[in-house]
């Protein structure tokens, strides 16, 4: 997705921040000198535990919160200064949907569309219907929003972000509260939107979600950017773990250790460890020669979770 261009990096970046910082009244540092660059056309996963500063960053990008330091550019224009010019081209779902319970789903969308001074009132009704169909809410559009389930509210929030063709979609935890089927549908929708040419900036605390959907990712931890790059690079950066399943764990552990497998962990019939360099087939042959009965043998690809743990030295829990 990243075509080589002669233009400087920033020109192709849909979102770019430099030293973006937010310190709340009371001294809490929510975002600390963030340098983020989201390439055009990417599906960008913004990853971090709850409380790591993702939502504060998103709110600064969208002009809801004034940064206490640094700069943010959205679609090449400074925020929050150019909000009125930039935001019509950006669809957003921020910290869950928010709806008028006493209005129907359709009326909610009509209201949000009316708030956009660049939205043509003549095409409003048609655009609302299209957005409702796109998220699978056409049948429930006449129901009062307060009667919606959490999943339906989430879809309606997404529909609001899709009222116009958008260059950038900022989706904060879009699959929150959805059942597995709903999650699959939303992820499919995200891929479809990206296919249509929108850049998608997706925040999540679900690692596998980012792995499934995103081309690029950045990892936040305690208000700081830990790393950013393509998902492929990130996973490749962390080495996979060797996993052996055997009814003879004791003997297997001895052989593996002898052959240079480090950080060996035995859990019942399963052993995992960092493999030594070289062909792993030799390792398997050695096990078999030693009379170890092997049920399964292979390398587990590193997950983003492994990357996260190796980068922060911590588990993926709520930041304190």
């Amino acid at each position: 997705m990243t075509e080589p261009t002669a233009a400087p990096e920033d020109d192709s970046a849909v979102i770019s921040t430099q030293g973006l910082t937010k310190r709340y009244r009371g001294g809490q540092l929510a975002v600390d000198a963030l340098d983020l660059s989201v390439p055009r056309g990417s599906v960008f996963g913004f990853l971090g535990p709850n409380g790591s500063g993702k939502t504060t960053t998103i709110r600064m990008l969208l002009g809801l919160i004034e940064p206490s330091g640094g700069t943010a550019r959205l679609l090449g224009e400074p925020m929050p200064g150019s909000a009125r010019r930039v935001l019509p081209r950006v669809g957003a779902l921020i910290e869950g949907p928010a709806l008028y319970g006493f209005l129907s789903g359709r009326e909610n969308l009509l209201r949000y569309d009316a708030a956009d001074p660049t939205a043509d009132p003549r095409t409003r009704a048609a655009r609302v219907e299209t957005a409702l169909e796109r998220v699978g809410l056409a049948a429930a559009a006449g129901k009062k929003a307060r009667a919606y389930s959490l999943g339906m509210k989430q879809r309606l929030g997404l529909a609001a972000a899709l009222l116009q063709p958008r260059e950038l979609l900022v989706l904060d935890e879009p699959t929150n509260g959805l059942d597995p089927q709903g999650m699959r549908e939303i992820r499919a929708l995200v891929r479809e939107l990206a296919g249509d040419g929108s850049t998608v900036f997706l925040s999540s605390h679900l690692l596998d979600e980012i792995e499934q959907v995103c081309t690029h990712t950045a990892v936040m931890h305690r208000g700081r950017l830990v790393t950013q790059g393509t998902v492929a690079e990130m996973s490749a950066g962390a080495r996979g773990r060797l996993a052996v399943t055997t009814p003879d764990p004791g003997e297997a552990a001895r052989v593996l250790k002898e052959r240079g497998v480090s950080d060996l962990v035995t859990d019942g019939e399963e052993l995992t460890g960092d493999p030594p360099p070289g062909d792993l087939a030799e390792l398997n042959a050695a096990l078999v020669r030693a009379g170890v009965r092997v049920r399964a043998f292979g390398v587990r690809r590193a997950s983003l979770e492994d990357v996260f743990v190796s980068l922060t030295g911590e588990g993926f829990d709520v930041a304190g």
């Binding site: 928010a98 209005l103 708030a115």
Partner: protein, 301 residues
């Protein structure tokens, strides 16, 4: 950023360089939407229903008390202004009802609507979506202010119309004897009633601006409503304490009942103008404060 148009229509061809136009007429859509949302809330309708009920109750009470030929207030208790004239002319029920609701009922409903205007959107979370739409903070606040003013007018007219209908049904109508003793035609009486309704609605301007300012201070709609109504009650109490009369000319409800001066011939403009001036001052001060606060505020809800 516009070299490769034809080659890759996928995303390079997006109109990145041309931001969408803001059409002045389209920008008005928010005002319409705001009115719709406010007047579709059952809370707003309930407030208006209560206001509409007041003249009916007053009318029926007066009718019941005078049906045996007695006169109002014979027991020595004092009713609201003009109440003794109602039996002569149903039109006076309009003036009585406005005089009865203006101290608390009417401004209370305005306090609820104004207090909820921004804070209610914040507590529901809809504020952030309106702002990223992007409604624009100034435009949104203007839409809110306009809607609150429309509500002031709607609330006053609700009282006046309900009183007019009730009065016409229960009591005789005809030529109107003004406070100064002059008699005018019923038509002119109606015109004066309309003017009074307009003045009463304008009297609520100061409170509306105050409520809107309070509404920008908090993320809780309930807190903003309670604070606005609480402030109204406090000011009314201070306004009723004679020892504090040095402050009275600066309190927004001080000249509220001056609308009665429209029933004189010639009209006595002194207090009427003072009232309108005071409301304009409140609106300017608290309107700007609301704007300053709302434009610099972090929207975290």
């Amino acid at each position: 950023m516009s070299q490769a148009e034809a080659a890759e229509p996928a995303y390079d061809g997006r109109p990145a360089a041309a931001p969408p136009d803001v059409r002045p007429l389209w920008a008005l859509g928010l005002f319409r939407s705001e009115l719709l949302v406010t007047f579709r809330r059952w809370r707003t309708l309930a407030l208006l229903a209560v206001l509409a009920a007041v003249p009916v109750v007053v009318g029926i009470a007066v009718k019941a008390e005078t049906s045996d030929g007695g006169s109002i207030g014979g027991g020595g208790g004092e009713g609201p202004a003009f109440i003794s004239q109602i039996t002569n002319n149903g039109l006076f029920l309009v003036f009585t009802s406005l005089a009865a609701t203006l101290p608390f009922f009417l401004p209370m409903t305005v306090g609820v609507v104004a207090g909820d205007a921004v804070a209610g959107e914040a507590s529901a979370g809809t504020l952030r979506y309106l702002l990223v739409a992007p409604a624009g903070r100034t435009r949104l606040l203007l839409a809110k202010l306009t809607t609150v003013l429309v509500f002031c007018l709607a609330a006053t007219l609700t009282v006046a119309l309900s009183a007019l209908v009730t009065g016409a049904l229960l009591f005789p109508t005809g030529e109107v004897t003004l406070l100064s003793g002059t008699t005018v035609s019923f038509g002119e009486g109606l015109l004066r009633a309309l003017a009074i309704a307009a003045v009463v609605a304008l009297s609520l301007l100061g409170l509306a601006a105050l409520g809107l300012f309070i509404s920008t201070l908090t993320n809780s709609g309930i807190a903003a409503m309670a604070a606005t109504v609480g402030l109204l009650i406090t000011v009314q109490i201070v306004n009723a304490i004679p020892q504090l009369d040095e402050f009275h000319p600066f309190l927004f409800p001080n000249y509220w009942l001056s609308f009665a001066d429209l029933l004189r011939d010639p009209i006595y403009w002194g207090d009427l103008l003072k009232n309108l001036g005071l409301q304009a001052l409140y609106a300017a001060v608290f309107g700007s404060a609301a704007w300053a606060r709302f434009n610099n505020r972090d929207v975290t809800a």
